[in-house]
């Protein structure tokens, strides 16, 4: 079908696809949206009859992140590849699996090959997605025709895979940095809250800051609570200072005025 497409149309489509993909990388982007657009693009550009992007989770299990179609049968083919199949091989070895003829692959993939054939596909490709040297997943391309991709199409498919890898890495970096930024701000809020709660307890008990901190800490420990949570409740007034004081500091005279 792609051979009959006029070259101008195809070039236009190619340019448009890559411009859209790279544009969406610049600003905030939804990774699933982008990977779905990429999977769709592989089909629209005539690289495959169906495509999907699989990523490994933290346990090394491959998960479908995006697919050109939500057909149950296709999704099952992706799923199956946690046990055997081109994506598992591409992910495990870091090498592309190219032009695998499904009718000749019954020994290689005893479950995957017949299932894929039954779903109407004749050949399959899997390109590894890498973060530097480390594999993070694979781009899976199914073709209803035997014989696989032309060299030109394969180069395009690799470029699509590179865009996917860049998007995934970029997304991970932004997410990690946001998580860390929140933790940093939480830590700052926490520190401020504890100091303020110390001041409140110190004023109420007429004790020094060290003793006030000890009071808050022993309350937190005896109630198995976090210091920050106890401090926040003291400040909000939901935990009365009296309740926080398990044993009033009778032996602590008020420090002399300066």
């Amino acid at each position: 079908m792609n051979d009959r497409m006029s070259s101008v149309t195809r070039e236009d489509l190619l340019v448009r696809t890559f411009v859209e993909l790279t544009d969406s990388l610049v600003d905030d982007f939804d990774i699933i949206d982008l990977l779905t657009a990429l999977a769709d693009g592989c089909v629209e550009l005539g690289l495959a009859s169906a495509s999907g992007i699989l990523l490994s989770d933290e346990h090394g299990k491959l998960r479908v992140m995006a697919a050109s179609s939500e057909r149950t049968r296709l999704l099952e083919l992706f799923q199956l590849q946690n046990d055997e199949g081109p994506c598992l091989e591409a992910y495990a070895t870091g090498e592309a699996v190219l032009d695998a003829d499904l009718s000749a692959a019954f020994d290689r993939w005893p479950r995957f090959a017949p299932e894929a054939l039954a779903a109407g596909f004749r050949s399959v490709d899997a390109l590894p997605l890498r973060l530097r040297a480390a594999p993070i997943g694979a781009l899976n391309l199914f073709s209803a025709l035997p014989g696989g991709m032309s060299e030109a199409n394969r180069r395009i498919a690799r470029a699509m895979g590179d865009v996917a890898a860049i998007a995934i890495i970029q997304n991970q970096m932004v997410r990690e940095s946001e998580v860390r930024a929140r933790q940093l701000q939480h830590a700052l809020d926490s520190r401020v809250a504890i100091e303020q709660a110390k001041g409140m307890v110190a004023e109420r008990l007429a004790c020094d800051m060290d003793h006030a901190f000890g009071v808050i800490r022993s309350y937190a420990r005896s109630h198995r609570r976090h210091l920050t949570a106890v401090a926040a409740e003291i400040i909000a007034g939901t935990l009365s200072l009296e309740a926080a004081v398990v044993t009033p500091p009778v032996d602590r005279p008020r420090p002399p005025a300066g």
Partner: protein, 244 residues
């Protein structure tokens, strides 16, 4: 210089030797990267701020003053999440900081330039640059400022990642800035006046301003119980009475 060259130059400065692990040198490195008179780095979250470092005591004092007054380029940059430039504090456009601007001019600062430290949707702090001479940033400085801000975000997040989720990394706390006493005093004032903590913070600032002293100095007196804030009925003209 193109953007890639700028980025690699800034990255090299910040990864160079101790800057990536020694938070105290982050301001010095920023000054070296941007060729400005001095710089202050403040960590921020909502209404809270905490100084990380300053390249000299003047920058530290001016960062502190902005916190005490609640006005200046640093709070503005944090609120707007965009850079705030004021090339001439003596110029006509400084009505926005009626207290901060003259105080900064008094200590020899003419230009202030604040860059927000944005990490995704969050703004975790501000880098404030202080210039002795009036005038816009050069094109190089203006182009490199945001890159330095990005490098600072990376450095600060890396430093914090070595600490627990609830615990501010020790290296990010400027022990010389006495902010702990300000927060402690705020808690004491809240109890003294029976008011909410946010109101107590405002009362502490107002009291310091009315008595012509720094928030840090007043906070220390409150914590040491030399001063306490009484309620409105029995306060003296500065709003406080000596602790008995």
């Amino acid at each position: 210089m193109n953007r890639a060259e700028r980025m690699s130059r800034v990255a090299a400065l910040f990864a160079d030797g101790a800057a990536s692990v020694a938070p105290r040198s982050l301001c010095g490195t920023s000054v070296a990267a941007l060729l400005v008179s001095s710089a202050g780095l403040t960590l921020m979250s909502g209404d809270h701020s905490s100084p990380v470092c300053a390249s000299d005591t003047r920058a530290g004092d001016l960062d502190d003053l902005q916190f005490a007054l609640g006005e200046g380029p640093c709070p503005d940059a944090h609120r707007s999440r965009t850079p705030i430039f004021e090339p001439d504090l003596e110029g006509a456009s400084t009505g926005r900081w009626p207290q901060f601007a003259p105080a900064a001019v008094d200590v020899g600062v003419r230009g202030v330039f604040a860059f927000p430290l944005n990490a995704g949707v969050d703004c975790i702090g501000v880098l404030t640059l202080y210039q002795d001479a009036a005038g816009d940033l050069t094109p190089d400085q203006a182009a490199d400022g945001p890159l330095v801000a990005e490098a600072l975000v990376r450095s600060m997040l890396t430093i914090q990642s070595g600490s627990g989720p609830d615990v501010l990394a020790r290296e990010l706390i400027d022990v010389d800035a006495h902010r702990a006493e300000v927060h402690q005093a705020t808690g004491m004032v809240a109890v003294q006046l029976g008011i909410a903590i946010t109101d107590a913070a405002l009362r502490l600032r107002a009291f310091a301003y009315a008595s012509g002293r720094s928030v840090a100095a007043v906070a220390r007196d409150i914590v040491d119980r030399r001063v306490r804030l009484a309620d409105d009925a029995d306060r003296d003209e500065a709003g406080g009475v000596p602790f008995e």
